[in-house]
C-alpha cells in the first residue's frame, strides 16, 4: 500500500527534518507514527500527502511512485489535520456537502458521517459556534467522506473527551475492518497502543524502531507479576510483592499470598509504549 525508502527532507532554511527513513505499510494496517514534537513525523506526513515537494528517496503509494501522482491522488487518500480547518461561516452539514462535491468518486451522506461522531444535532450549526472538540470530530469525518483507501490522520483524538476519543478509536477499527489503511501520526501512546497494528518511533528525523505494540511490550517489559494485597482482618497498609512470570505456578510464596490474603491487584509488568519509547530513544514524548 505504501512504501518509503531512504526518505530525506530538508526545509528551505537548511534544516534536515527527515533523515533517510524506511518503512512500509500493508493494506488494511493501522500504522502509528510516534514521536515528540519536532521529531519529523509531521514533515513525513506532509511529504506523504504531497504537501511538501522536493524530497529525496523513494516513495510508492497505491502502487505508483508519489512523484507520478497528480491531484487525483486525493480521490483515494483522505487527510485529517491536527488543527481544525473548516469554513467558519458555514454549518457542519454545509462544510461536508461542499467537500463532498469536490470528489469524483462515490461519497457518503454528510448526515450519516455527522451521526457517526455524534454531531447530528449540530448539523445545522455554524462552525464558529463549535467547540474545538466538535471541530476535531468534523475534521475527522471529513477525511472519510469519499471512502478513501488510505487515511492520513494527524492527532485525531486531540482535544476530545474520553467518550468521543473512544468513538474515534472505534470508527478507526471499523475503517480497518472495511479494508482501509491508516497512517496515524500521534504522540499519544495510549491511542497508538490501543489501535495500531504497528508503530514506528521517530526521533530527530530518524526511525529508531518499528514493531507491533504487543511485541514491543513483550520485548521491553519485565517478565514479572506484581501483587498488591491485604492481610485479612488487619488494618495494616497494602503490601506488594513481585514474582518472575516463569515458573509462577510453582512459586509457593506466590500461591501462599493468593490463598491467605485479600488480593487487591495482580498485574504483569510489561512496559507501556511510553516506557519503551523513553527506554529506546532516551527522549520523552513532550
Amino acid at each position: 500500500m505504501l512504501s518509503v525508502e531512504n526518505l530525506s527532507y530538508t526545509y528551505p532554511g537548511g534544516t534536515e527534518a527527515v533523515r533517510g527513513i524506511d518503512f512500509s505499510i500493508e493494506e488494511g494496517e493501522i500504522f502509528g507514527f510516534l514521536g515528540p514534537s519536532g521529531a519529523g513525523k509531521s514533515t513525513t506526513q506532509k511529504v506523504l500527502i504531497r504537501l511538501l515537494r522536493g524530497f529525496r528517496g523513494s516513495i510508492t503509494v497505491l502502487g505508483k511512485p508519489l512523484d507520478e501522482w497528480d491531484d487525483s491522488y486525493y480521490e483515494q487518500v483522505g487527510v485529517a489535520f491536527e488543527l481544525p480547518n473548516h469554513y467558519q461561516k458555514l454549518t457542519a452539514r454545509e462544510n461536508l456537502s461542499l467537500f463532498r462535491t469536490l470528489y469524483s468518486r462515490e461519497t457518503r451522506d454528510p448526515a450519516e458521517l455527522l451521526e457517526m461522531v455524534g454531531l447530528e444535532d449540530d448539523a445545522d450549526t455554524r462552525i464558529s459556534q463549535f467547540s474545538k472538540g466538535m471541530q476535531m470530530r468534523l475534521n475527522f469525518v471529513r477525511a472519510l467522506i469519499h471512502m478513501p483507501d488510505l487515511l492520513f490522520l494527524d492527532e485525531p483524538t486531540t482535544g476530545l473527551d474520553p467518550v468521543n476519543g473512544q468513538k474515534i478509536k472505534d470508527i478507526l477499527r471499523q475503517q480497518k475492518a472495511e479494508g482501509r489503511t491508516i497512517f496515524l501520526t500521534t504522540h499519544d501512546m495510549t491511542v497508538a497502543d490501543q489501535i495500531c497494528d504497528r508503530v514506528a518511533f521517530i526521533v530527530d528525523g530518524e526511525i529508531t524502531l518499528i514493531d507491533s505494540p504487543r511485541n514491543l511490550r513483550l520485548q521491553h517489559g519485565r517478565r514479572r507479576v506484581r501483587v498488591e494485597y491485604h492481610h485479612d482482618g488487619t488494618s495494616a497498609p497494602t503490601q506488594q510483592a513481585e514474582f518472575p512470570l516463569d515458573g509462577l505456578g510453582d512459586s509457593d510464596e506466590f500461591l501462599k499470598i493468593l490463598r491467605s490474603n485479600r488480593i487487591e491487584t495482580i498485574h504483569t509488568q510489561e512496559a507501556t509504549l511510553e516506557d519503551i519509547f523513553i527506554q529506546t530513544t532516551g527522549r520523552s514524548l513532550t
Binding site: Y11, L51, Y73, L83, Y87, L98, F99, L102
Partner: protein, 361 residues
C-alpha cells in the same frame, strides 16, 4: 484545472462573499455614490431648466408666456444685480435682462431689439437648448412672426467658471475606477484571506482540488464582479453609449488586471488588517487618475503615470467622445500588458503559496 470544481468554488465564494462586510461595502458604495451624484448634480432627476428675468418695465406680454411655461422654471428679479448674482451662483442657468419697453419694441417693426443674456458657465447643454428655444418661441409669439426678421442685438455674457463637463461627468472616472478596480480587487483578496484565517486552503488542496483551481475561482469571481460593477456604473451614469463592444473589452481587461492584482495582494498579505493597510496606503495610486480628472486644469500626462489611467481613459473616450478602436488602441495595449504581467506574477505567487501552505500547516 477542473471546470466543475472551479464552479463549485465560485458558488461557495459567492455565498461567503455575501456575508463579508468589506466586500459588500465595496460593491454597494460605487452604486450608492453614482445615484447620489446623479441626484445632486442632476442627471438622474434632471432639474427643470431655470430662467431668471429682470424686466426694467412693461414687458409682461413677453414674460408671461415664460412664467406660464410648463417645462421651465422662471423667476422674476427686482434688479439686474440680483439677476447677475443668481446666475453667478447657478440658481439660474440663463438670465434675461430686458430693457424698459422691450415688449413694445418687439411689436414695433422699426425699433431695434436690444437685450442682455447672462449664461451660467456650468449650465448643461440640454437645459441651455431648452431655455433658448423657449425664449425664442416667446419672442416669436410676441411679434407674431419669426424673430429672424427683427434687428435683434443680444449681448451675451457668461458668468461663473466655464466648464463643459457636468459634475457627474467629472466624477464618473473616479466611480469607474472604484467599481471596476475595487470590485475586482477586494473580492479575491478578502476571500483568500478568509481561507487563510480558517486554514481551509490546505483542506481544499487535500482534495482533488488544486491550488490553481482555488486561485482561478477567486480571480474569475473578481473578474465577473468587476465586469458587472463597471457596466452598472456606466449604465447608471448614462455612459453605456458609443461602441458597447469596445467598452466591454476595456472593462474585461480592467477586470482581469484588478482581480489578478487582488489575488496577488491577498496572497502576500498576512491577514485582513495587513491587506487593509496596503489598500489605505497605496489606494491613492489606484484612484489618482480619477481624482485628477475632477480637475480639468491638471495636465493629462500626470494621469498616465498610474496603471488605472489605461482602464479609465479608454472608457471615457468611447462613452463621452465617441472614440473607436484606433483612438484607444494604445491604452488597450498598455492595459493588456499590465494584465499579462500581473498574470505572470500570479503564477509565481501560486508556487510560493504552495510552499507556504506546507510550512504553515
Amino acid at each position: 484545472m477542473d471546470i466543475q470544481r472551479i464552479a463549485v468554488l465560485i458558488g461557495k465564494d459567492a455565498r461567503l462573499g455575501a456575508t463579508n462586510f468589506m466586500v459588500v461595502y465595496v460593491l454597494v458604495m460605487p452604486v450608492v455614490l453614482s445615484l447620489l451624484i446623479a441626484l445632486v448634480f442632476g442627471d438622474l432627476l434632471a432639474q427643470t431648466p431655470r430662467l431668471g428675468i429682470y424686466d426694467a418695465g412693461a414687458s409682461e406680454q413677453f414674460t408671461r408666456p415664460l412664467l406660464d411655461h410648463p417645462s421651465i422654471n422662471t423667476t422674476i428679479y427686482d434688479s439686474e444685480e440680483a439677476l447677475q448674482s443668481a446666475v453667478e451662483r447657478g440658481s439660474e442657468e440663463i438670465g434675461l435682462s430686458l430693457p424698459a419697453g422691450f415688449a413694445a419694441s418687439l411689436e414695433d417693426d422699426s425699433a431695434e431689439v436690444d437685450f442682455t443674456v447672462y449664461r451660467w458657465g456650468e449650465a448643461g447643454v440640454r437645459n441651455l437648448l431648452l431655455l433658448e428655444s423657449a425664449v425664442a418661441r416667446a419672442m416669436t409669439a410676441a411679434i407674431g412672426s419669426s424673430i429672424d426678421q427683427l434687428p435683434v442685438t443680444v449681448n451675451a455674457e457668461q458668468i461663473g467658471s466655464a466648464n463643459t463637463q457636468t459634475w457627474s461627468q467629472r466624477l464618473l472616472p473616479l466611480l469607474l475606477i472604484m467599481s471596476i478596480v475595487l470590485g475586482g480587487l477586494f473580492f479575491p483578496a478578502a476571500s483568500l484571506l478568509d481561507e487563510k484565517k480558517d486554514r481551509t486552503l490546505v483542506a481544499l488542496t487535500s482534495t482533488p482540488t488544486s491550488l490553481l483551481d482555488v486561485y482561478l475561482s477567486k480571480t474569475l469571481m473578481g473578474f465577473i464582479l468587476s465586469g458587472i460593477m463597471g457596466s452598472v456604473i456606466l449604465l447608471i451614469n448614462g455612459a453605456f453609449v458609443g461602441q458597447v463592444a469596445l467598452l466591454l473589452l476595456v472593462i474585461a481587461l480592467g477586470g482581469l488586471m484588478s482581480s489578478s492584482f487582488g489575488i496577488i495582494l491577498g496572497s502576500v498579505s498576512k491577514d485582513m488588517d495587513t491587506f487593509m493597510g496596503i489598500i489605505k496606503g497605496a489606494g491613492i495610486l489606484l484612484y489618482a487618475p480619477g481624482i485628477l480628472k475632477i480637475f480639468p486644469q491638471v495636465p493629462e500626462w500626470i494621469g498616465r503615470i498610474f496603471p488605472t489611467y489605461y482602464l479609465m481613459n479608454p472608457l471615457l473616450e468611447v462613452s463621452q467622445n465617441g472614440a473607436g478602436i484606433a483612438e484607444i488602441a494604445l491604452d488597450i495595449a498598455v492595459l493588456a500588458l499590465i494584465s499579462v504581467a500581473l498574470l505572470l506574477l500570479l503564477s509565481s505567487v501560486i508556487g510560493r503559496q504552495q510552499q507556504k501552505l506546507a510550512l504553515e500547516t
